[in-house]
């Protein structure tokens, strides 16, 4: 599943051709490998107004071994190496006039940003502003970061995190994620953190050590990638898929040292069987990834009940039923549990021929938002991940033209890989990600669809 066009565009001849013709120039993205440093170069941190996060951010990065440069000034003077990350602490914004200082910091810094660099903006949520002017200034960052993401080239990304007063302690995990190679295909996104009780520092290489993680739909594609990444991060993975996919499922489980559980998640007794299995074999569960999903595409007017019902049953109802059963089952969902639900870009943007699929995936977004407060009460979280164009066996079967166009309609000008979705899910599953709750994180390279 190599991206022939990306490889061509990065070859000597291809570079010349694509530049001269003004064709898309997709970069080879920086993806996470165990043991990799957080950033391949220094970071520069600036602020707009009197930011409250700069000190903590500097300390966080220094603890990760990142050299933190002093801000680049408008005249372009620097103190050395090109930065791999540009971070703006915008928590000091009071009025739109303050945005000028954001521009003053970002423009020269981004000009010097390395390939596969990161731009990260931290701000207070507009909903908690003291005045309309302050709300305007904060909301303005949305447009700013999304535009920066579209202007960046060479595999760099830009994202925005809303940090309300009191949630500063939840910042480390999201900041690490957005700077690292784990977020390679997450671009142009805005997300929020909340205050949460977090465990002491975890093993950076094995953040899921000792955790039991259930991954549904794990026999192939994105599910197999999720299982693999969770196991790499230290989790024991209970790989679940329908019995008919049991041979592929066993291969995945054996590859990652997990266990295979053949189960049709839409069966009436499926939640109970899953719970009994987890209780008997593992005494409980720490992470549940609702990944299993199906498509049964047809235009709405031609769609029969079977197509509608089967998609709803697998993609939405099973997630609801299993999650509810886990919440009800005494002691099975361990304290600090993480539930991650796979939604889809179709659930945000809609897609012709996918009324059933898009409805089910949009439903997932509503579900996690509604459940978040209840999960927060138990120190747990529930989030969704919405993949965009991800290169899988399924997309390999698409007609050439549709596939090529589909994969380029995003700021990174390429399709994502299953591992990109998996990395985002594994991050949300970390104990340290307790401040991320009820969110839907898009893994779409800032897709033009539904943006």
């Amino acid at each position: 599943m190599s991206d022939w066009y990306r490889d061509f565009a990065n070859s000597g001849f291809g570079t010349t051709i694509t530049k001269q013709l003004g064709l898309p120039r997709p970069a080879v993205l920086r993806r996470y490998e165990p043991g990799q440093p957080l950033l391949p170069g220094p970071a520069v941190i600036g602020s707009a107004g009197e930011g409250r996060l700069r000190k903590a951010l500097t300390e966080l990065l220094q603890a990760e071994g990142v050299h933190v440069q002093s801000p680049v000034t408008a005249d372009g003077a620097t103190d050395g190496e090109k930065p791999a990350a540009v971070i703006l602490d915008a928590t000091g914004l009071r009025t739109p006039a303050d945005l000028a200082s954001a521009h003053d910091f970002l423009a020269p810094a981004i000009k010097r940003l390395r390939a596969t660099g990161r731009v990260l903006i931290l701000a207070d949520p507009p909903s908690q502003a003291d005045s309309p002017a302050q709300a305007a200034a904060r909301q303005a960052l949305d447009g700013l970061v999304r535009s920066v993401a579209k202007e960046l080239r060479a595999g760099s990304t830009a994202n925005l995190i809303h940090v309300p007063e009191g949630a500063e302690g939840s910042l480390a995990s999201p900041v690490r994620f957005f700077l690292s190679g784990r977020s390679a295909y997450v671009d142009g996104q805005v997300m929020s953190v909340t205050a949460a009780e977090l465990p002491a520092e975890e093993d950076a290489d094995k953040p899921l050590a000792g955790k039991v993680a259930v991954v549904t739909g794990a026999a192939r594609g994105i599910g197999a990638a999720i299982a693999t990444v969770m196991a790499r991060d230290g989790a024991h993975v209970v790989a679940v898929d329908i019995p008919a996919a049991g041979d592929k499922l066993a291969e995945v489980a054996n590859e990652i040292g997990g266990t295979a559980l053949q189960l049709d998640i839409t069966a009436e007794d499926a939640p109970q069987r899953l719970i009994e299995h987890l209780r008997e074999r593992h005494g409980g569960v720490d992470v549940v990834v609702h990944n299993a999903g199906i498509t049964r595409d047809k235009l709405l007017v031609n769609m029969d009940a079977a197509r509608w019902n089967s998609v709803m049953a697998v993609n939405l109802q099973a997630q609801l039923d299993i999650t509810q059963a886990l919440l009800d089952a005494d002691g099975v969902l361990r304290p600090g549990a993480r539930v991650v639900c796979v939604s889809s870009q179709s659930g945000i943007a809609g897609n012709r021929g996918q009324t059933n699929y898009a409805a089910s995936k949009a439903g997932v977004i509503g579900m996690v938002r509604a459940w978040a407060p209840q999960f927060a009460e138990r120190g747990a979280t529930i989030n969704a991940v919405a993949p965009g164009f991800i290169v899988t066996d399924m997309t390999a079967k698409m007609p050439f033209g549709t596939r090529e166009v589909g994969s380029r309609l995003n700021s990174l000008q390429q399709g994502g890989l299953p591992v990109d979705v998996a990395e985002t899910i594994a991050w949300l599953s970390q104990p340290g990600s307790g401040g991320v709750n009820g969110q839907t994180v898009r893994v779409c390279g800032q897709s033009l669809l539904g943006a």
Binding site: P243, A250, N254, R281
Partner: protein, 431 residues
């Protein structure tokens, strides 16, 4: 004074099992070898119980139809599997009793605390069956290989005759009688006056029971798909008495012939494996104990000169085992009588009910009595699943262990398996 000469032994736990769906001969697994199937089955078991890289006490399995290259079939399969390469293995072969006998061997070593864990299994293919050259040609080829000079070689080759080139195909027949197993069973069926309709009824119930079990997900943790097959392809959920009644008899002769392709097992390919362990080993790994293997007995009958039916040995093994355990035939919650042929199951049960037979042949004061049919082969047996000879024992042990576990603690199950050569293996499981 306490008798210290014979310390109580622990009972081996049955943790779970795995098999590939069974396939009728020359269908889905036509290109698969015994080693392919056994390896895949072991890997499915490894995945189910997280045994990647684990060193087990031993793996014991076998095949009835075996290529000479498969002299170390089980060990080779272990080496090809995800188990640790330091897991020892050996082959056993007791015809259709292979799988259950393998489980007994592993269980006994666990009981004697010689090992803590082991896998028992079996595999057979009638599609990828070994063909042998005849003895005449074999002798020529050996002398050819021993020949040192060109002259000697030519001399050896000159001895080859066209008639020698026809290979010997393994037959499902008894070497000492030349009769097919089905023909033997037909003799027994006639002796015991087993009717056509009751055989067909048993066959239909087997299909229906197994189909229902698949439908409710009962086999989800007993079977792993293989080569595109997710369920046994011999299974006919829509089997009915009317359909079976239309079939012509294939074994036996004349008016009295009752055995058809519908109430006899077809030639089948497949493999099965059962994970056994001490309770402690299972507990350390958070693995379940479905049941314990309590006791077992093997018997053989003289079907050549002794006037006993080829497949009647379990009838003799049973009272010995029951007496040793102080149990009656009715003290069980579930019965698994291997359906080599429907008539075999029926003749077996009829013999246990027959006062004269039990007195004269088994030396019992009273007949063993009858079995509650509603407790017999409740999730289907070989007539539905098919019968890859050595794989049947593992299928039955895992299936019964799960059935007992589902029914709750303290439930007892009985296994009875007939085998070629006039042998039979029986066993008791308890949850």
């Amino acid at each position: 004074m306490a008798d210290t000469s014979k310390p109580a032994t622990r009972k081996a736990a049955i943790v779970g099992g795995n098999r590939i769906p069974f396939a009728r001969s020359n269908t889905a697994y036509a290109q698969a070898s015994n080693q392919d199937m056994l390896t895949a089955t072991l890997d499915g078991l490894v995945a189910r119980f997280g045994l990647q890289g684990a060193q087990l006490g031993e793996v014991v399995a076998g095949a009835v139809l075996k290529h000479s290259r498969d002299f170390n079939l089980t060990r080779e399969s272990v080496l090809g599997s995800r188990l640790s390469a330091t897991t020892p293995a050996y082959d056993v072969q007791q015809a259709c009793g292979t799988g259950l006998e393998a489980a007994i061997l592993v269980a006994n070593k666990i009981a004697l605390e010689q090992i803590e864990s082991g896998i028992a299994g079996g595999v057979d293919t009638t599609s990828d069956a070994p063909l042998a050259v005849g003895d005449d040609l074999r002798r020529v080829l050996i002398s050819l290989s021993n020949a040192k000079t060109l002259q000697d070689r030519l001399k050896a080759v000159a001895k080859i005759r066209p008639g020698q080139l026809v290979p010997e195909i393994p037959r499902n027949a008894e070497p000492r009688t030349g009769l097919a197993m089905g023909d033997h069973a037909a003799i027994t069926a006639e002796e015991w006056e087993i009717g056509r309709e009751e055989q067909d009824e048993l066959a239909v119930r087997s299909h229906q029971n197994m189909a229902a079990a698949y439908e409710r997900g009962y086999f989800d943790d007993l079977v792993t798909p293989f080569l595109g097959l997710a369920r046994d392809n011999n299974l006919r959920p829509d089997s009915s008495l009317e359909k079976l009644a239309k079939l012509k008899p294939v074994f036996g002769t004349g008016e009295g012939a009752t055995m058809t392709a519908g109430n006899s097992t077809p030639l089948t390919d497949g493999a099965s494996a059962v994970l056994l362990a001490s309770d402690e080993w299972a507990a350390e790994r958070g693995l379940p104990v479905l049941a314990h293997l309590v006791d077992a007995q093997t018997a053989a009958v003289d079907y050549v000169h002794g006037g006993e039916g080829l497949l009647m040995a379990p009838v003799y093994a049973m009272p010995v085992m029951l007496a040793r355990n102080g149990l009656s035939l009715q003290d069980f919650d579930f019965y698994e009588i291997h359906e080599a042929f429907a008539s075999t199951v029926l003749a077996t049960m009829k013999a246990w009910e027959d006062a004269a037979f039990c007195k004269d042949k088994l030396g019992l004061d009273a007949p063993l009595g009858s079995i509650d049919r509603s407790k017999l082969n409740v999730h289907g047996s070989s007539l539905a699943a098919g019968h890859p000879f050595a794989a049947t024992g593992g299928r039955i042990v895992a299936q019964l262990a799960k059935t007992l576990h589902e029914a709750g603690p303290g439930k007892r199950g009985l296994i009875s398996i007939c085998a070629a050569g006039g042998q039979g293996v029986v066993a008791i499981l308890e949850s």
